[in-house]
Amino acid sequence: MADSVFHHVVRAPEDPILGVTVAYNKDPSPVKLNLGVGAYRTEEGKPLVLSVVRQAEQSLVNDASRVKEYLPIVGLAEFNKLSAKLILGADCPAIQENRVTTVQCLSGTGSLRVGGEFLARHYHERTIYIPKPTWGNHPKVFTLAGLSVKDYRYYDPATRGLDFQGLLEDLGSAPSGAVVLLHACAHNPTGVDPTVEQWEQIRQLIRSKKLLPFFDSAYQGFASGSLDADAQPVRMFVADGGECLLAQSYAKNMGLYGERVGALSIVCKTSDVAGRVESQLKLVIRPMYSNPPIHGASIVATILRDKDMYNEWTIELKAMADRIISMRHQLFEALKARGTPGDWSHIIKQIGMFTFTGLNSEQVAYMTREYHIYMTSDGRISMAGLSSRTVPHLADAIHAAVTRAS
């Protein structure tokens, strides 16, 4: 047989984040712990499908009038409207003035990719500034979309908090009009968010330099437990009348991970511009996947449009957020009790699903080898993967990693 035409195709390494689960699955140890992917787990360590989601699915399946016809390229109209209201607020003037175009996309990733492709084609500044560090997939998404990627200082390893001065300096020296990626809340991977006052300063700087904000909102409601509180930074920016892009995901806050539900919104100066922008977004989407999947969006629309289901959702959402906050406190206490050297208060100061422990890749590798703890090599752990039962094991592992002779 002739040599393969693919002989020059090398084997790609596993995706660093998703590869953690691949490695975890291979491990036979009974005490193994998966703190890799940001997927919520119950106290029993099980995936969770929200009961309000099951309800919504049941009503969809029971509805004999439902069909599986292609959605429009921009997705389910009702889903789009409700999603915009969820993040921007129901009485947002930009929505009332029809200045917001919202298109259903494949969760957060798909929304970021479509937004990036749109900017690469239609926006005059093709550089996007992303925080350092950021979600591992961000640079790849934007590079393949056709943008060039630069970073701005964000995490300060010394304080395990925000390098606010560095952030202001780097954004301040960005070229006018450049795109800036902002994590709307619960920064991934650090869990470090600006304060409200710091957000206001960021906003003023961005507007005065005419930078274009691109929000990644993957944790609305999941970070603090309050949908409105977590939407504050985004709403501050939209309230000033300026333009921005916004990627929303329902993977975590509605537990719809595998359904791939999200939305890209572009807030424009005028409704006329919004209409034209939408038409161009369709040209990006059609050659990528034609139109988005219906199932997850239908679940979201069913829940958001129904007052009772919406309330049930907020309760289940708060319960998930509260459990994570409780894990933070338990881990902090456990390390304190062991006298683990170092200041671990960042564990309770950081917010959202992830904690940037500050552990280095050597220590991480040690924890994996000796304690079967699976996490990304940047020291990020998913609190959602912890339970009261497993906190002691993790605390032991961290303690051992930090105190062992190198």
Binding site: K68, I266, R276, R286, Y289, H295
Partner: protein
């Protein structure tokens, strides 16, 4: 509609429409910065501006960064349904999008799909992220369905299968693979082909050119032209082939012609790239509709196949399909699969679970699988009946003696009527029959009751409009 939405500012933009869009925008912002003192912006970066005696200056300070963006034209295929919806005439007929309709012209959700969804809900399955390559059970089932479970390519693990977003998404992943690993390689697409093919390759930055396919004189296959053009293509080109039920013409090569196509492809070391959107839906038989793919893979060729379950399982909106790459070794397949994953991750991370589970559940259960085959035969059968009735009506009504038998020879959801663009416009404007401008009608949107009306419209458009 587009012109009604143009504001003053964008009217100015379209005046310089010869410039690329981003150049337009640069021009706009320059107007702002040249005519304003910078003090205005510092004082009030995002508030309303003072009047400076020129409307354009006022607009410019508060102007959108996207001001220069023009309204894109509606999608030629999907836009047809939109136009149809807006039409209030009761005689209107939607023969645009290829979505199956019942005899009552209603959308159809297969019974077996409803059963599968109920089962899934009863089982209380979770919604965890799929792996980047998709649901393993789906990938296994889809490759076996396509090649046959006993096929050596399957037994030898030489197929890299990655779940994709229906046909479009699977084609796009393949295009991205070609762009990255076969830089400069060309894809040859049939003339005509599905309207979105060229968009996919354009956006993926893969060069394409056309091979002759449709012969308007015979309303059949220009086989010699097809062979000549494939032969003339640079060695190692990708040849995009419709596995069955060619879209938009409905004209498929015969088995003998497929052998000759395989010959010339092998001779030039080309790589076959199949688009299989109608397996089982064309003839009613899953195996028969996969014959062309199996023929070429039996030759030992490496090839690509994009699959879709939109039509054959009626899962349109669930976006379920797959890209399969048949390689000469299991090792190559492993490597190719890993690189397909690397392309999918920055596009959407991992594919949607719902449609994949439906397919896996149906194909994996013998009773459900048989039910599916029966429903698919029913759908294909209805379309064949409608073809026959349309042919009978046309033959009866058209006194010119024109041979309409191509309608019976064509296969699948679509028929290429041979109507020109102006004739197609007449179909819509005079008869409220919605179709694509290339003369394509979707027989899936036709029922027996409307065949005579459609025949009248076609005869009128063909003979009375030039």
């Amino acid at each position: 509609m587009a012109s009604a939405m143009l504001s003053f500012a964008s009217a100015a933009a379209s005046a310089s429409a010869s410039l690329p869009v981003h150049e337009n925008l640069k021009g706009k912002t320059k107007i702002g910065s040249v005519n304003f003192g910078s003090s205005v912006q510092e004082r009030n970066p995002f508030g309303k501006t003072k009047h400076f005696g020129r409307v354009s200056m006022t607009v410019a300070v508060n102007v959108s960064r996207f001001e220069g963006i023009t309204m894109a034209p509606p999608d030629p295929i999907l836009g047809v349904s939109e136009a149809f919806k807006a039409d209030t005439d009761e005689k209107k007929l939607n023969l645009g999008v290829g979505a199956y309709r019942t005899e009552e012209l209603q959308p159809y959700v297969l019974k077996v799909v409803k059963k599968a969804e109920n089962l899934m809900l009863e089982r209380g399955e979770n919604k965890e992220y799929l792996p980047i390559e998709g649901l393993a059970a789906f990938n296994k089932a889809t490759a076996e369905l396509l090649f046959g479970a006993e096929n050596p390519v399957i037994k030898q693990q030489r197929v890299a299968t990655v779940q994709g977003l229906s046909g479009t998404g699977s084609l796009r992943l393949a295009a991205a693979l070609i762009e990255r690993y076969f830089p400069g390689a060309k894809v040859l697409i049939s003339s005509p082909t599905w309207g979105n093919h060229k968009n996919i390759f354009n956006d993926a930055r893969v060069q394409w050119s056309e091979y002759r396919y449709y012969d308007p004189k015979t309303v059949g296959l220009d086989f010699d032209g097809m062979i000549a053009d494939i032969k003339a293509a640079p060695e190692g080109s990708f040849i995009l082939l419709h596995g069955c039920a060619h879209n938009p013409t409905g004209i498929d090569p015969t088995p003998e012609q497929w052998e000759k196509i395989a010959d010339v492809i092998q001779e030039k070391n080309h790589i076959p790239f199949f688009d299989v959107a109608y397996q089982g839906f064309a003839s009613g038989s899953l195996d028969a509709d996969a014959a062309s793919v199996r023929l070429l893979s039996a030759r030992g060729m490496e090839l690509l196949v994009a699959q879709s379950y939109s039509k054959n399982l009626g899962l349109y909106a669930e976006r379920i399909g797959a890209i399969n790459v048949v390689c000469s070794s299991a090792d190559a397949a492993t490597r190719v699969k890993s690189q397909l994953k690397r392309l999918a991750r920055p596009m959407y991370s991992n594919p949607p679970v719902h449609g994949a589970k439906i397919v896996a559940n149906i194909v994996g259960d013998p009773a459900l699988f048989n039910e599916w085959k029966a429903e698919m035969e029913m759908m294909a059968g209805r379309i064949k009946n409608v073809r026959q009735k349309l042919y009978d009506s046309l033959s009866a009504k058209d006194k010119s003696g024109k041979d309409w038998s191509f309608i019976l020879k064509q296969i699948g959801m679509f028929s290429f009527t041979g109507l020109s663009k102006t004739q197609s416009d007449n179909m819509t404007n005079k008869w409220h029959v919605y179709m694509t401008k290339d003369g394509r009608i979707s027989l899936a949107g036709l029922n027996l009751a409307k065949c005579e009306y459609l025949a009248d419209a076609i005869v009128d458009s063909y003979h009375n409009v030039s």
